[in-house]
Point group: C2
DNA sequence: TTAATTGTTGATCATAATAGTCAACAATTA
DNA sequence: TAATTGTTGACTATTATGATCAACAATTAA
């Protein structure tokens, strides 16, 4: 039950983009260097973020990546599932038909609750929050 | 970020033991049959539960397994980490020294919060709760 | 229009974690 | 003492993850 490096790398990449919000596109190479992410790996894991409309990509010379929306509008609840596939601890959480026992299963309810409590926490954090904290600006 | 089958099997085995609380020992073979768990696998995953004093084992003829404590005193918060190794989504949660970045890391705080919210949910569920639900006795 | 640049995609490989099995062993009871 | 039952460690198979590489598409600037 460990988080994959995709989620770790991905959130770091997004933080990097959030730190440079409003400054135009960042090269994937620079993101990779700054955040210590293998470049060819970054290219793959950023793809779902682009397709989901969280990251904007521009090809060709002078291209790169930038956030498609303001950092305060992007929560981890939106981001982590894209990177991780889903935050369901078991497939039955979102797909009860897949398990022959789901009707009578006593445990499924627990896994659903668990997912909901995680999601609630993730919803409470925006990229802007991360930027604030990174800058030490956070009053908290 | 999926739960391992150890946790699924393990909780089912515990549920089975809880259902028979007060009736003496259950054979591992019977637990395995009833809950559809490969017997040799069950033997391995039950071991940490025995060592942690949650399950009591008796060897030899007429031996078997039973809960070492009343079902209402055993929470999932105690059980799942034993089966799963830990519920930390990342090692840095419980072992900051392992990561060179943990000081300045913006993300670690999130992973810690996530773990705490999961643990809170798991703490709220005892084996007795599961039994009640399995019996349809739950008033809720 | 061409060359350089940069993201996109798919194939592929390596490694590690998980799931599962088997056999020798220790303890207990009848 | 023989039958029973849990304990442990070694081992195998399968899958998921992490990572790389190469061909390709789009864009810009000379």
């Amino acid at each position: 039950m460990k988080l994959s490096t995709r989620a770790r790398y991905g959130t770091r990449a997004l933080l990097e983009l959030a730190l440079h919000w409003g400054e135009g596109a960042l090269l994937s190479r620079d993101i990779a260097d700054k955040q210590n992410i293998p470049l060819p790996y970054l290219e793959h894991l950023i793809s779902p973020l682009v397709q989901a409309g969280i990251v904007k990509s521009t090809r060709g010379a002078r291209g790169g990546f930038s956030l498609a929306r303001p950092p305060e509008d992007i929560t981890l609840s939106e981001v982590i599932p894209l990177l991780e596939g889903s935050i369901d601890l078991l497939d039955c959480v979102n797909n009860p038909e897949g398990c022959p026992y789901s009707d009578s299963c006593v445990m499924r309810r627990i896994w659903v609750e668990l997912k909901e409590s995680m999601d609630k926490t993730l919803q409470s954090v925006t990229l802007k929050d991360l930027v604030r904290q990174a800058n030490g600006t956070q009053t908290l």
